[in-house]
């Protein structure tokens, strides 16, 4: 099995080292980079719990090899809040709307919404919901998540106008 030297930035910090070809980005982030907020819910790309932001786009880290992330900028749920602990607007909306219970699917929902509502983007509520059709939550019945999405869609529209 081949090994590969990679360099990438994870939550603003640089990482360099060798990875095995078969290691997924998710396992790499969890085991090598300490980002245990990346959760493996299915490892076949359906549940969305492992979603991270690679070069500005939400992707399934279980469906990407670590070696493929070489040269990329990766952001996980750990990398979104401000250094002083102030939550990212997506995290704040989910907190206030009770959008989580067990919290296992939550990092994937946070990263998906964070990528889609990044500065300069003005997704509609429907677009955000459509994106979340790829994030399974077994606890909440999606009620709080839906409310948080509505709030975020309103917020990005207000910022844009």
């Amino acid at each position: 099995m081949s090994e590969h030297q990679i360099h990438l930035r994870i939550n603003g910090l640089s990482w360099s080292g060798a990875v095995e070809a078969r290691q997924s980005l998710a396992d790499f982030l969890r085991e090598r980079a300490g980002c245990t907020g990346v959760h493996l819910g299915c490892e076949h790309g359906v549940c969305g719990a492992c979603t991270v932001v690679v070069d500005g786009r939400a992707v399934r880290s279980c469906l990407m090899l670590a070696v493929q992330a070489g040269g990329s900028e990766v952001v996980t749920a750990e990398g979104l809040a401000a250094p002083d602990g102030t939550l990212h607007p997506v995290q704040q909306a989910l907190l206030e709307e009770h959008g989580l219970q067990c919290g296992f699917c939550t990092p994937g929902i946070v990263t998906t919404l964070a990528a889609l509502t990044a500065p300069g983007r003005t997704p509609s509520e429907e677009e955000l919901l459509a994106a979340l059709s790829g994030n399974l939550c077994r606890c909440t019945g999606y009620q709080g998540i839906r409310r948080a999405v509505r709030r975020l869609a309103r917020a990005v529209r207000e910022v844009a106008s």
Partner: protein, 938 residues
């Protein structure tokens, strides 16, 4: 001062005297405060079992049986042991060094011996056979795929029908009955009622098999620390129960077992207690003397974690001409798999069928059946069949009688003004409110307006339906079953002034760190922000079953209230002493003790209590620490009425849920957002059961739904926005709470099924066979029979496919991969088939032949041997049971107290219901039992 008693003998009577000081309005109870857990979980700082890394830890993967039933002819681990990085490969022969008894949730031994790894026989596909320890999970999987397992395969018993007529799953048993209770036939009086009823209805419900499917799969990190200590990180529903379970199951009374589970990604009954894999990992860790980690993958979770719900029930009902219930007889069958987590015929179904309704007479027979499938486990509202069958039967009766579904319920529901009542099975009921919930719902929902809209829509060819269902749910049970105990709360004010609770509550998303803190802040007069709740560690607090039976708000809630009141009492006495006054003049508010104009902070009081005990009132012991064990009433009922509106597309059979309204009485709500979250989450699971989810087996007992592309969980588009009405009648438990954890998963399914049946009433009576998939509904709409087939993968247009079989698609040889590459079968590692290496059956089929499952995981049938059918005339023996008895409780007696004997020599198929279903079509090739081999290619 006298020491605080460790355990309160009585319940409410022992409450400390309420303060005489002016009553405060609730500041924290009833508020939607943000959860304390969330900042951690939202920023990826949860600590789930897979996040635990221990120095020197190795990783585990299992080699599993590729067949559902057979005798292990050869088991060779040498090739696996030779893989670089492999530390050990264990089989049951190795684990036999440690005697184990895989006890039930109620700590009873199993009906048949169960070993962590299969010893001689395998009894379900995916049963763990060998355990590989390696330096990484990937290497462990590499090696597990090299374990050679050769099995003389025998035709498996898969369905309930197979179980009735097939050979015993366990050769040492005379038949496939795991547990049974009740009478084979209605007694003469009930029979007379049924025979002479103006309306007699026979209503049948088939409930599919379900995976609990928490987003976090099962997992364990087992750390042996010398001979005498064992630390386990287990994703579970109660660290205390798991510690007790492990000590009991592994016969380790002299070993200090500590279980830690900080965050858990959902449980839903699956994680009530460990099972084979976790036990095997613990034993392997003890054998090796090293920490071991096993994290179940989703394929394992959907195929080999214990499952739930597969059951069939027929209710024979008698109504008078006005729709009043006269009597009923229930015939209930549960598929418990091969190694159920508890011997079970689910008597709770019968116990909770009727408490909300007036029913003069009821009889039942209940059986749990062994099959060659993965074992039965709990799932949120394990007895939920009662609401499903009763509520769908009531709607059906209403249609027959020309009554509105609301009206038939009004004529039969128990009202609060009629309480207390005793059910026909002898259960006292003194505090329920289903009728009141229904009336609250009807104040909000204009049923007459809906009926007009429905009528107009039908004229336009659109089919709308309204479903209504009411129920009561037993919650917070304590004191009637050995494991369902009260709850201990340990509470202190630290020298810093911070209020610290050490609890045995456990959250798999329940938010107990929030709701318990709200109660403490409320009843102690502390600031919510300054209350910290520690839970999730069996070395702290006292025994409790944690999250099971919708109990935590009721039982732990009462415990923290009582502990907070004791602590408040103490703080008031100290403050009064220090400030010069009477304790009952001291007001505790916002973390301060006020006496007139003067006040002391909790921190100031704590500094005296810990550091300057001489300044305490004479005789008072130092410190600001109390504990209280609360024993609530034996059971506290929650009630609800739900309604939903659907539209069924009669061109496709798709169901769209347009509205969902919940009127819920869960008593005092500590945090309505948490309550609504519990209800909505349960409803989502109900929607999954009604429309989407199903574990499907092929004829060889292989699960053909092993991924999330096959086993369909509800998405955000499948669950509507839910409208909540809070009824809120305080219960008799301390604090007035009622449990709310399971209700949504119970009541949602009948609500939705009723709505669909209402929408499709113009087409006839919809059979209740879950899930109601689009093809099933379309077949009903178009008057075709729908025969759900146990598809044999690889068998093209198998018999049972309705209509003309489609042309067989050509087989794909050497399927291409994305980008046009040629990763084909036949490569170096493909010799042993496209088989999940450490689980699941072998296959030699291309990834997808146009009929396979999403990832081509459907299995091919090979060499199913002949099934010998025989009719059995076995006498049906009554096993004793009692009330809410579990069948593995040796002490139980029959409901109603009396012992009844069943006639000897009755044959199984004579029962009502048994003949309703045609014998399944089975392949019975005239071959000797084929040998299946999971051995890798040389």
């Amino acid at each position: 001062m006298k020491r605080e008693p460790l355990q309160a003998a009585a319940v409410v009577a022992e409450r400390p005297q309420a303060p005489v000081a002016p009553a405060r309005t609730a500041r924290y109870v009833g508020r939607r405060v943000p959860r304390k857990e969330d900042p951690r979980l939202l920023t990826g700082h949860g600590r789930y079992v897979d996040d635990v890394v221990v120095p020197g830890m190795f990783h585990v993967a299992f080699a599993r049986s590729p067949v559902a039933r057979g005798r292990i002819r050869r088991l060779e681990t040498r090739p696996a042991r030779e893989v670089e990085g492999v530390q050990a490969v264990f089989t049951q022969a190795d684990l036999d060094r440690f005697p184990t008894t895989l006890v039930s949730f109620f700590f009873q031994p199993p009906d048949v011996p169960i070993t962590p790894l299969a010893r001689d026989r395998v009894v379900y596909a995916g049963e763990p056979v060998a355990l590989v320890v390696a330096t990484s999970r990937a290497v462990a999987e590499d090696a597990a795929s090299l374990v050679e397992i050769e099995i003389d395969e025998e035709p498996p018993v898969v369905t309930l029908e197979d179980a009735r007529h097939g050979p015993p799953v366990h050769p040492e048993k005379p038949d496939n009955i795991n547990a049974e209770l009740g009478d084979e036939e209605p007694d003469p009086e009930l029979a007379a009622i049924l025979d002479s009823a103006p309306l007699r209805l026979r209503h049948r419900v088939v409930h599919q098999r379900i995976c609990q499917s928490p987003m976090e799969t099962r997992g364990i990190v087992a750390c042996p620390e010398g001979r005498d200590e064992l630390t386990l990180y287990v994703t579970c529903q109660s660290p205390h129960l798991v510690a007790r379970w492990v000590a009991t199951a592994l016969h380790l009374p002299e070993t200090a077992v500590r279980v830690i589970a900080k965050d858990v990604g959902g449980g839903f009954g699956l994680k009530n207690h460990p099972w084979k894999e976790e036990v095997a990992v613990i034993l392997a860790a003890r054998l090796l003397g090293r920490p071991l980690k096993w994290i179940e993958d989703r394929y394992e979770n959907l195929t080999t974690a214990n499952q739930a719900r597969e059951q069939e029930m027929t209710l024979d009902l008698a109504f008078d001409a006005e729709g009043r219930l006269l009597g009923a007889f229930g015939d209930y069958h549960l598929n418990v798999g091969a190694h159920p987590q508890l011997s079970e015929c689910n008597v709770a179904v019968h116990m909770f069928l009727w408490p909300a309704y007036h029913l003069p007479r009821y009889g039942f027979i209940s059986r749990g059946w062994y099959t060659n499938t993965v074992g039965y486990a709990a799932y949120r509202g394990p007895w939920a069949m009662e609401s499903l069958i009763r509520e769908t039967a009531l709607d059906r009766a209403a249609r027959r009688l020309g009554l509105d579904p609301v009206e038939i319920r009004r004529r039969n529901l128990v009202r609060r003004s009629e309480l207390p009542v005793t059910t026909c099975l002898g259960m006292p009921v003194d505090d329920i409110s289903p009728a009141e919930c229904l009336e609250r719902l009807l104040e909000y929902l204009d049923v007459a307006a809906f009926r007009r809209e429905q009528e107009e829509a039908r004229r336009a060819g659109r089919y709308l339906g309204l479903g209504i269902a009411t129920y009561v749910e037993p919650t917070g049970a304590a004191g009637e079953m050995p494991v369902m105990t009260g709850e201990l709360a340990q509470l202190r004010v630290d020298p810093t002034g911070q209020v610290v609770a050490t609890l045995s509550t456990h959250s798999q998303g329940h938010g107990t760190a929030t709701t318990m803190a709200q109660l403490i802040a409320e009843h102690l007069g502390a600031r919510y922000e300054e209350v910290v709740v520690f839970e999730g560690d069996s070395s702290r607090g006292g025994f409790s079953p944690g999250a099971a039976g919708s109990r935590q708000a009721v039982v732990a809630g009462g415990a923290v209230i009582l502990a907070a009141e004791r602590l408040a009492d103490r703080i008031r006495r100290i403050a009064a002493h220090l400030l010069g006054g009477e304790p009952n003049q001291v007001v505790l508010e916002e973390g301060r003790a006020r006496l007139g104009e003067r006040s002391l902070s909790f921190a100031e009081i704590a500094q005296v209590a810990y550091g300057e005990p001489k300044r305490l009132p004479p005789g008072m012991e130092p410190g600001l620490e109390v504990q209280h064990r609360y024993q609530p009433p034996p059971v506290t009922f929650s009630s609800a009425a739900n309604a939903c509106v659907v539209e069924v597309d009669t061109a496709t059979g798709f169901v769209r849920i347009l509205r969902w309204i919940v009127a819920e009485d869960c008593g005092v709500e500590i945090n309505p957002a948490v309550v609504e979250g519990q209800v909505a989450g349960g409803l989502a699971q109900s929607i999954g059961m009604a429309l989407l989810e199903e574990v499907v087996f092929d004829e060889r007992g292989n699960v053909t739904t092993p991924t999330y592309k096959d086993y369909l969980l509800p998405t955000i588009f499948d669950v509507p926005e839910i409208e909540f009405l809070h009824v809120g009648i305080p219960s008799k438990a301390v604090g007035g709470m009622r449990g709310v954890g399971e209700g949504g998963a119970i009541i949602g399914t009948p609500t939705l099924v009723n709505a669909i049946a209402d929408a499709l009433a113009p087409f006839g009576e919809l059979p209740v066979e879950l899930p109601l998939t689009p093809p099933k509904l379309l077949a009903f709409i178009e008057g075709r029979s729908y025969a759900p087939r146990r598809r044999v993968a690889g068998d093209a247009a198998s018999p049972g496919a309705a209509g003309e079989p489609a042309p067989v698609p050509a087989r794909a040889e050497g399927g291409r991969r994305p980008g046009g590459g040629a990763a084909r079968r036949g490569g170096r590692r493909l010799g042993h088939g496209d088989r999940h290496p450490h689980g699941g059956p072998a296959d030699d089929r291309p990834l997808r032949d146009g009929r396979g499952t999403a990832f081509g995981l459907a299995r091919k049938s090979r060499g199913a041997g002949r099934v010998r059918r025989r009719r059995r005339g076995k006498p049906v023996a009554l096993r004793p049971g009692r009330g809410k008895a579990r069948q593995d409780d040796p002490e139980v007696r029959p409901p109603g107290g009396g012992r009844r004997d069943l006639g000897q020599g009755q044959t199984g198929p004579a029962r009502p219901g048994a003949g309703d279903r045609a014998a399944p079509v089975r392949a019975t090739p005239d071959s000797a039992p084929a040998r299946a081999s999971a051995r890798s290619a040389p």
